[in-house]
């Protein structure tokens, strides 16, 4: 199965839309889990761009996607662990309420 080259702009539009939704979610939501999901959304938007460009520019983009997935998986593990620790302490995950880490 192959996707013709003229679909590239469509892929990029989808990717940009996903990315913007992710950014908006990170900026506007206060629940740490949701913010985390939005970050994953942004990563996958980037992955889509890589894959789309890989059609014309070679396989490098696809390889890069695997790296991003691996790093994202590691990040998810660490991030979830932190969120769980925070939840155990505060019994909530509202990022607006966490402001101890300063000067």
């Amino acid at each position: 199965m192959s996707v013709p080259p003229e679909y590239l702009p469509l892929s990029l539009v989808v990717s940009a839309t996903l990315f913007t939704i992710g950014v908006g979610g990170v900026l506007l939501r206060r629940n740490a889990i949701i913010i985390f999901l939005c970050i994953e959304l942004m990563l996958n938007a980037v992955n889509l761009t890589f894959v789309a460009f890989a059609r014309q520019l070679g396989v490098d983009g696809q390889v890069f996607v695997f790296f991003v997935m691996a790093v994202a998986a590691a990040e998810a593990a660490v991030g979830l662990a932190i969120i769980i620790s925070v939840f155990r302490h505060y019994e909530m995950v509202d990022v607006e309420r966490f402001d101890l880490l300063k000067w």
Partner: protein
């Protein structure tokens, strides 16, 4: 007498190599000096072991200085090393003197030990100058020092710091010799500062007593004012002559300088400032009475016989410059005569035996300044020499008295001041040797025939009158009467009348009074003999006595250039005093005045009962003013010390604390303030960070796209 040059050559044999080097240098120096020696006094002088004169006291100081750390308990070692080191220097000086006497050479011989400063046009070597003037000074310094060192061995016998004491004392002798032997102004200045240092160390010798150590500081700081004059005078001299060596300056001063010109007047007035500091003249004399805080042999050696005469020596040494500046000469003479009278009035009402002698010293130094100021350099040096004998004797005698009274007080557990003459009285019967020898010195200082002071003081008074200073002449005559009076007061209060020691310290105290041991009385006797015969080296022709002009002839080559300048400009001695009458008449008058002064002083002491310090009422009226030294210390405190302290405090509180510290602290506060502003950005809220981060990325991307 034959033995001493032999000793010199024996030493030369021992130190052949060193001696060879020195002799080589001496040969050069002598060749250099021979050309400048006046024709009829020609003949070069080759000094014997010149470096050794300085080296021996320095070694003594080093050994005693080490001893102060190493053998604290062996007090016998320093009491031998100290006197022997100075005695050794005296022996070498004596050998040199005998050679100079024998060969009739006048010098000036300059021995350059090594080159010290060589900067651009300035060439200063470590030069030792041997001429008739420095020879007299070397003899006086080492001779009197030797006697006083021997006395000190007895006086300081029980002091735990004896080793340190002799280290300082030997170091003093070293620096004093540097001062008088220096062949140029900088070397003299080194000695000048060095003796000041030793004076400071020895005044504050008993440093546990805060009052004593601040007396040392006072001496040091007051002398700094004078030293400033010395330094600026040196700069001016270098600017004028391009050299600082005495010999070329003396040679060329008459040709290169304008008579009475501004520069030479400035130089000599600055030198006078230096001399008023070191020799305790008005206005810088206030440190000397306080300097009595030091051990009594120190007062005798440094603050009576040697160091304080450095100013007189310096004026005599640069006599040519002073002769070129008649205004400065008048200033020197006025300062001298004024000090002589002023200090004598204060001495009349002091109760501390050493304070009387201190003011007496200031007064006698005033006479010497009067002499060198009017141009009678020989008379000044003459009085310097005789004064060294009788004033050293007076101080040493006072030391013996203090020792004895202190012992009596100590036995009784009394904590009074042993120096206070109101607690003495009638000591003649227990201390006959001290009393008798001090009487010899008293008659000498009062100017009673045939004691030494009669000849030297009379000569000064005579020249003051005959060189045309009638007012100063009158002042010096009045001061002579006062001198006799306060000395008679001192002697009668201390040695005659009823003994008051029991009254001061409790019954039985007087039984502990004792004569000093032989190690102290023998120096007293030696100095007493010198106080009697010391004046016979110069007996004026006018008196119905054998005419002796040994000192005059001896010093003539050294003072001749200055006299020549004076003569050239018409300054000559008259042959009559301002009120008429010749030298013999006025010698008789001053003898009558001296005896009258003694009788008046004695009558004054006997006229009223003397109360011990505990019971004595405060003096009133003029007596109180004199006792409080005309309130000069209070005046200086108010006029100079107070404002200076206020200024220093302003510098501390305003300039240092506010401006300098303020600038540094201000920078610190500014940094902290900036940091505080920055810290507000770190809110700890992730949302804010992400927003700023996103906006930042958008801004960068926007920038790239546009």
């Amino acid at each position: 007498m034959e033995m001493i040059p032999a000793l010199g050559s024996a030493l030369a044999g021992l130190l052949q190599e060193a001696a060879h080097g020195a002799a080589g240098a001496a040969g050069q120096g002598a060749a250099h000096g021979a050309g400048q020696a006046a024709g009829d006094h020609g003949g070069s002088f080759t000094p014997i072991l010149p470096g050794l004169i300085l080296l021996i006291p320095l070694i003594g100081a080093a050994v005693n200085g080490l001893g102060a750390f190493l053998w604290r308990d062996r007090r016998l070692v320093p009491s031998w090393v100290g006197p022997l080191a100075v005695g050794g220097a005296f022996a070498v000086v004596l050998a040199n003197f005998l050679r100079m006497l024998e060969t009739g050479a006048a010098g000036p011989a300059v021995v350059t030990l090594w080159s010290w400063l060589s900067v651009g046009g300035l060439e200063v070597g470590v030069d030792l100058l041997f001429d008739r003037l420095s020879m007299v000074m070397m003899l006086v310094v080492t001779g009197v020092s030797t006697v006083i060192h021997v006395y000190s061995a007895g006086y300081m016998r029980d002091d735990p710091g004896i080793s340190r004491f002799f280290a300082y004392l030997n170091l003093f002798v070293f620096f004093m010799l540097v001062l008088v032997m220096g062949g140029n102004f900088p070397v003299t200045f080194v000695g000048w500062e060095g003796v000041g240092l030793c004076s400071y160390l020895l005044i504050g010798f008993w440093y546990e007593n805060a009052e004593y150590s601040s007396a040392g500081k006072k001496a040091f700081i007051v002398n700094r004012i004078g030293d400033f004059g010395f330094l600026v005078a040196m700069f001016l001299l270098f600017a004028m002559f391009g050299t600082l060596d005495y010999v070329p300056i003396i040679e060329s001063a008459a040709d290169e300088l304008a008579y009475g010109g501004i520069t030479v007047t400035a130089v000599t007035l600055l030198l006078l400032l230096a001399c008023t500091g070191k020799s305790a003249q008005i206005p810088l004399y206030t440190w000397l009475p306080d300097a009595m805080a030091g051990p009594t042999p120190v007062s005798a050696l440094i603050h009576a016989a040697t160091m304080v005469t450095a100013g007189v020596y310096l004026v005599a040494r640069s006599g040519v410059l002073f002769a070129m500046a008649p205004m400065s000469q008048a200033a020197v003479a006025t300062v001298g005569a004024g000090t002589a009278l002023f200090a004598a009035t204060i001495a009349l009402k002091q109760y501390d035996i050493k304070k009387v002698l201190a003011y007496s010293t200031i007064s006698q130094l005033g006479y010497m300044f009067l002499a060198v100021g009017v141009g009678a350099y020989t008379a000044g040096i003459f009085h310097l020499t005789t004064h060294a004998f009788f004033k050293a004797l007076l101080f040493l005698g006072a030391g013996a008295v203090i020792h004895s009274v202190e012992h009596a007080f100590h036995e009784q557990g009394h904590h009074g001041d042993p120096n206070d003459m109101r607690s003495h009285g009638g000591l003649m019967s227990v201390m006959p040797v001290t009393g008798t020898t001090m009487w010899a010195a008293t008659l000498a200082i009062a100017g009673v025939f045939p004691f030494a002071g009669f000849f030297s003081k009379d000569e000064i008074i005579w020249y003051a009158g005959s060189y045309g200073y009638p007012i100063l002449w009158g002042v010096s005559l009045v001061a002579a009467v006062l001198t006799a009076a306060y000395m008679a007061r001192l002697m009668f209060m201390t040695f005659h009348g009823e003994n008051r020691t029991d009254e001061a310290a409790g019954q039985g105290a007087s039984s502990a009074l004792h004569e000093a041991p032989a190690v102290m009385t023998v120096p007293l006797v030696i100095l007493a003999v010198l106080s009697v015969v010391g004046g016979w080296i110069q007996i004026p022709e006018a008196l119905p006595l054998p005419h002796v002009s040994w000192l005059h002839d001896w010093l003539h080559p050294a003072v001749e250039p200055a006299l020549a300048v004076a003569e050239e400009h018409g300054v000559e001695a008259a042959h009559a005093a301002p009120l008429g009458g010749g030298e013999a008449v006025w010698a008789g008058v001053s003898l009558v005045l001296a005896v009258g002064g003694i009788v008046a002083g004695a009558a004054w002491v006997r006229s009223k009962e003397i109360l011990v310090p505990e019971r004595a009422a405060d003096d009133r009226g003029l007596a109180r003013v004199l006792n409080r030294k005309w309130y000069v210390d209070e005046l200086y405190e108010r006029v100079f010390v107070g404002p200076l302290l206020a200024l220093s405090r302003a510098c501390w509180r305003v300039v240092d604390d506010r401006i300098i510290d303020g600038a540094v602290n201000g920078l610190g506060y500014a940094g902290r303030a900036l940091g505080w502003v920055g810290s507000r950005l770190q809110s700890g809220r992730i949302g804010t960070y992400v927003l700023v981060f996103t906006l930042g990325v958008l801004a960068v991307l926007g920038g790239l796209v546009l």
